[in-house]
Chain length 357, copies 2
């Protein structure tokens, strides 16, 4: 199976597979301006914590190319304006740490070069800015390449936790679409299947935006892996009445104590998993850890538009003026998590970030 | 606020408020044939355990009127054919006990009259059949009237459990639409509000058919009670992050040990309620108890069409051929339930049906 090209650099643009149109249509969009990148991230045309990290990093490279005129009169001015663009991209979605992490990494690379590297001090401004632009793209491309390698490593570590034959529950979308193309939690299923294990995936549809029903089912169908979609409310009943080998979820941000922010509904799944003795695994790159936050209480939780709950496919499902509450994420306590799987291996509780380094 | 006319007898027909068209349109349909009643129950045009009980009973009265010719040549033949119609209506939905209970009650009334009452033995067949028809309707009307009284009694007992001011979580629809017009769990909120208590209702949207988003919000808006709709997966996060006074749910069937079948997603709510110390109340008429079943394991769980998960409002949300699993109900263990509220009062655990009689 080919790796998905969720997000790539293509001839001076950020090319994304528009996830809002899946599973109906497979449409790629070439984003030529920072505003378009911000909009694509905000509207979930590109989504999934690692994927928006890569899209954000490429967005910074795009910003570096599109800054012109007075804004590039010298290195310092260029970097100051680029920082504004970085902040704009990072603000597109608040919960996933990867977006700020990836954009910040590109920015830091340029700042380091500017202060201590070959561009330090005076020099021909235009040539220096062009070199910084190239370096922004090179760093973003490294993040993308590394993301594919991280997925492969998470896939190996995650697959080792799965039985020769069994059923798992998947929440939201944690496949290739959530990353540069490999996947986080779902990559473990892809790898286990490649190894000859027989895994059946029970797919949480994942309201309100149905990433499970729309995207995970599309990926599993593409990979020829057996699955069935169910409503989120049915997952506890599923764990009570069938033998489930594992719940596999991703993460948008993990605090220093292991508390894990992920797509809303994850906490509910974790409570049911504990009740029915089902291992609950979080699979995410190590960059999802935000060790600056002592616990999940400090993780900002994005609240999205009420309209996502009020209508589907243009059809109203509530009275037009019905108030709605739409948190996009929730935080699962570390004590409910059986293990955190990163590219570095499997960390079991009690959680210690030292053991994950 | 007027009592909803969810289901009524009207000039030889069963008149229902078509719940599949709410909240967009308030359309009443007059069902003139048993097939139409069965179809309305199966498609959830009329839904809610008590409401389908009343609709079923009126359906039996309708069947009694529409049997003709050879099928009414004598009392015994008439009753035998009527029994076939009763079985057909009862089979429309398997989980709620109320449907079989209400249809069976009308049938038993006629059988009792036929064997020991004024119609016992020989007599003019036509006159006797007509009298039985009238009695079928009279018994169904009694069930309807009693349902309204049961709602009022459940409302009083339930309201007494609610604080002067607080937030509750509602699942599926348990208001007037779920009964002949009063309500089960939501009737407690209506009554508490009437008493001057300030109750805010957090409405589980209740996938797949969105009875919370569509119907509960419509009823709360009509009653002027403040509310907000959320996705089912957000309920655990709601209980973790806000002070919730109670979770209020209905029931489709309650086994002799207190295990309670209700709309899928109820079990998940109960697990979260226990985790976060939120009282979990089941509000249902005593007729919801099926004392012939020792535990919830014996309750039949209806599985509905995969299409309910695959599309919404005509829009596909999964690949067209995506397999889906769609249990309409789940069973919550008695140990997770804080109290059962019926028209007879409040029963606390450990569950004993003797104390509820």
């Amino acid at each position: 199976m080919d790796v998905l090209e969720t997000v790539r650099w293509r001839e001076g643009t950020v090319r994304i597979l528009d996830q809002t149109l899946l599973p109906g249509r497979e449409v790629y969009r070439e984003l030529a301006a920072v505003d378009e990148v911000v909009d694509a991230i905000r509207t979930l045309a590109v989504r999934g914590a690692p994927a928006i990290g890569v899209a954000g990093a490429l967005g910074v490279a795009l910003a570096a190319r599109t800054l012109t005129g007075e804004k590039v009169c010298d290195h310092a001015t260029f970097l100051r304006h680029l920082r504004i663009e970085v902040d704009r991209i990072t603000a597109a979605r608040p919960t996933a740490v990867n977006l700020g992490w990836a954009c910040g990494r590109v920015m830091k690379r340029l700042e380091d070069l500017e202060s201590s590297g070959p561009f330090a001090g005076a020099g021909p401004a235009a040539a220096g800015v062009e070199a910084l632009r190239e370096e922004a793209l090179a760093e973003a491309q490294r993040i993308l390449e590394e993301d594919l390698e991280l997925s492969a490593a998470m896939a190996r570590h995650g697959a080792a936790l799965l039985p020769e034959e069994g059923r798992v529950i998947s929440h939201c979308n944690t496949g290739g679409l959530a990353t540069a193309g490999g996947g986080t939690a779902l990559s473990a299923v892809f790898e286990a299947t490649r190894q000859g294990k027989r895994i059946f995936v029970h797919v949480d549809e994942t309201r309100p935006l149905l990433q499970g029903a729309r995207l995970t089912s599309w990926e599993l169908r593409r990979a020829g892996i057996p699955y069935a979609v169910h409503c989120d409310g049915a997952a506890a009943w599923l764990m009570k009445t069938r033998t489930i080998a594992a719940v596999l979820v991703g993460a948008d941000r993990i605090a220093a104590n292991g508390d894990t922010a992920n797509k809303v509904g994850t906490l509910s799944l974790a409570l049911a998993a504990r009740e029915y003795g089902v291992p609950f695994y979080v699979v995410a790159p190590f960059s999802s850890f935000d060790l600056s936050l002592p616990s999940g209480c400090e993780i900002p939780i994005e609240e999205r538009s009420e309209e996502e709950i009020r209508r589907w496919g243009g059809v109203a499902v509530t009275p037009d003026d019905a108030p709605a509450w739409n948190p996009a994420f929730d935080v699962t306590d570390a004590r409910l998590i059986s293990a955190w799987v990163t590219e570095r291996g499997v960390g079991r509780p009690p959680f210690s970030d030292a053991r994950m380094r």
